[in-house]
């Protein structure tokens, strides 16, 4: 349920409206004096049969303003600044205001101006109203003014027009008259109503309304109010007829059937409250939020944003950590499998020890018979080996032979040594052959030859 509170006049009007898509249903309807408002409000929250989801308020008339400004067609930011200056000049700094762009209008020369309708509510009024609801379960979601709410009602009732239309809500002790033209709220005024005994034919009220219409014509020269819409007490039909004759305006009744099917034209339906219920906050530029609420909202927004960022980062980190942990877990499992297989292979290899040794012996030992036979073959006649050695040094078989070459003379002995060296070099089994020592002993030559096995 939407609780709509109209604080515009001395009598506070409250309506509980159930809104389902386009249809409205009045659940509660009250009229209170301002003195009993806060007490009755708390009671209302307690006893209400429907849950109050939303509260909408239109502020009292003396704390609001409606004014149309025509400003040069500037860029948005500059236009906002210029409008703020104009509003401050006109009403001071105590007001919060909203504006509605009414479009371009021709200015002096070829210039184009922009027409802006401003609606303002005193900032402390907003704060005061907001505080009233501090202890209550539902907080006001929308503050606006009575004419703005009424405009929504007229639009819904298809009474809004490009012709100047005056809406008169007849009430006691004050009636209200608002003049609209298209989207513009041109005039809003309260009219005191005398008691029926003092003004039985309501001529004083009719005069007051007529004076307001004349004032409008003075304010907007060459313009007259074409249509008059009445709502409320119907006991002034004679006065209405007088007004019609004087102003030549068309008299239109406010039919609630056109607003929503099922709504009856009853006196307890407050047009201001109904208008509040019809507003759509998401498509509405003339709604107010108190500064303290704005601050709270900003804090909440900052908190939500920072929490989201923190949570987002936390989530990203958690995702990365879980992904890496999972990766590590998989690697560990895979590694464990490989280790197990290695262990099995090692156990199997222990059983194949003899084969391993056999393999090693075969691959590491040189062909001894071939080496000894080759060694015998490379020795030419006249040469005698004194010693022959073969040893394994770091996987390479190195050897040395020492001996004596005995030729017919020193030269032939030396030639024999050279021949022996050549034979070593030509053998496919030896490489890296070198004469390490050579010494003449008479005609004989003592030598030492070094070599490697070519394996």
């Amino acid at each position: 349920m939407i609780l709509c509170i109209d604080l515009t006049s001395k009598k506070i009007k409250i309506a509980g409206v159930k809104k389902e898509r386009e249809s409205l249903e009045i659940v509660e309807s009250l009229e209170l004096n301002s003195s009993e408002f806060s007490k009755r409000l708390a009671e209302l929250f307690e006893r209400s049969s429907c849950r109050i989801d939303e509260v909408r308020i239109s502020a009292s008339a003396e704390n609001t303003f409606h004014k149309i400004f025509t400003l040069p067609n500037l860029k948005k930011k500059m236009l906002d600044q210029a409008l703020e200056v104009e509003v401050t000049k006109a009403f001071g700094k105590d007001y919060q205001f909203r504006c509605r762009d009414l479009g371009e209008v021709p200015g002096p020369g070829n210039k184009v101006n922009r027409k802006l309708m401003t609606v303002g509510i005193k900032a402390d009024t907003l704060e005061r109203l907001s505080k009233l609801f501090e202890s209550l379960p539902a907080k006001p979601s929308l503050f606006t003014t009575y004419p703005v709410a009424l405009q929504a009602l007229l639009r819904r009732a298809r009474l809004s027009s490009e012709e100047a239309t005056a809406f008169v809500e007849l009430d006691h002790p004050t009636s209200r008259i608002v003049i609209f033209k298209g989207n513009e709220i041109r005039l809003a005024r309260e009219v005191n109503v005398l008691e029926e005994e003092k003004d039985p034919d309501r001529s004083a009220l009719a005069k007051d309304i007529y004076r307001t219409l004349l004032f409008y014509t003075e304010t907007y020269p060459n313009e007259v109010v074409d249509r008059l819409v009445f709502s409320g007490n119907s006991s002034i039909s004679r006065a209405i007829e007088t007004l019609r004759q004087k102003t030549k305006a068309k008299i239109l009744p406010l039919s609630l059937e056109t607003v929503s099917r099922g709504l009856k034209d009853e006196s307890h339906v407050h047009p201001g409250c109904l208008g509040l219920a019809l507003l759509r906050p998401d498509h509405f530029s003339l709604g107010f939020i108190p500064v303290s609420v704005q601050k709270r909202m900003k804090i909440r927004k900052t908190l939500a944003l920072s929490s989201t960022i923190t949570l987002g980062i936390l989530l990203i980190i958690l995702l990365a950590v879980s992904r890496l942990s999972l990766n590590l877990k998989n690697l560990n499992a895979y590694h464990g499998g490989i280790k197990g297989e290695i262990k099995m292979k090692e156990d199997r290899l222990r059983e194949l020890g003899l084969e391993f040794v056999s393999h090693s012996v075969e691959t590491s030992q040189p062909p001894w018979s071939e080496i000894l036979l080759e060694m015998a073959a490379v020795v030419p006649p006249g040469v005698v080996f004194k010693s022959f050695t073969l040893k394994k040094v770091k996987r390479v078989w190195r050897g040395e032979v020492t001996g004596l070459a005995e030729g017919s003379d020193e030269i032939s002995s030396l030639l024999l040594v050279e021949r022996l060296q050549n034979n070593f070099n030509q053998s496919p089994l030896f490489n890296g052959v070198g004469l390490l020592e050579r010494e003449l002993q008479g005609k004989k030559v003592e030598f030492k030859i070094g070599y490697q096995l070519d394996m």
Binding site: I317, V361, S369, L372, S387
Partner: protein, 178 residues
Amino acid sequence: MKKEKLIVIGSAFAVLLLLFVGVKKIKALQTQVAEQRENLQKSSQRLNFLRELEQSLELRRETGKVLCQIPRAEDPVASKVLVAKFLQSFLSRMGLEAEVKVEDERESRDFPDVISITEVPMRIGIKNYSSYDQVMKVLKEFCNFPFVIEVLTIGGTDVAVPGVLRMQLKYYVVPGGA
């Protein structure tokens, strides 16, 4: 404004703290993953090596010859004596007079740790031989045992044992082989 600032500062601090802790944790995990990958690579390489070795040894078992082993005793000193006696009698039967010096058994470094093989270093000095053929025969006979010759010299002094033909060799002991 103050509250907003506090919230922003608090959140920024929380975000920084989260980033600090998170990045540290992520880096640690990345290092662990990298290390594990490296270990995995090494293990895979080792496994491949073992597979190939196993295949080759299995093939050898099916087709290769069987090496003879010298009988051994549980007592290491007795084992040493057994090896020396065996070799002396083996060479004697080939008509060679030899001196055999056997050292203590030790763990062999010629094989991977997987197969725990020990080795018995020894030196053999053959005092006389009739021909090269006899030497070749001895060397050929040695091939039937798990012997590897490290030094062989005829007429040289590189091996500290008396004899014309001197050999420094190792006898591999395969666990459970004898």
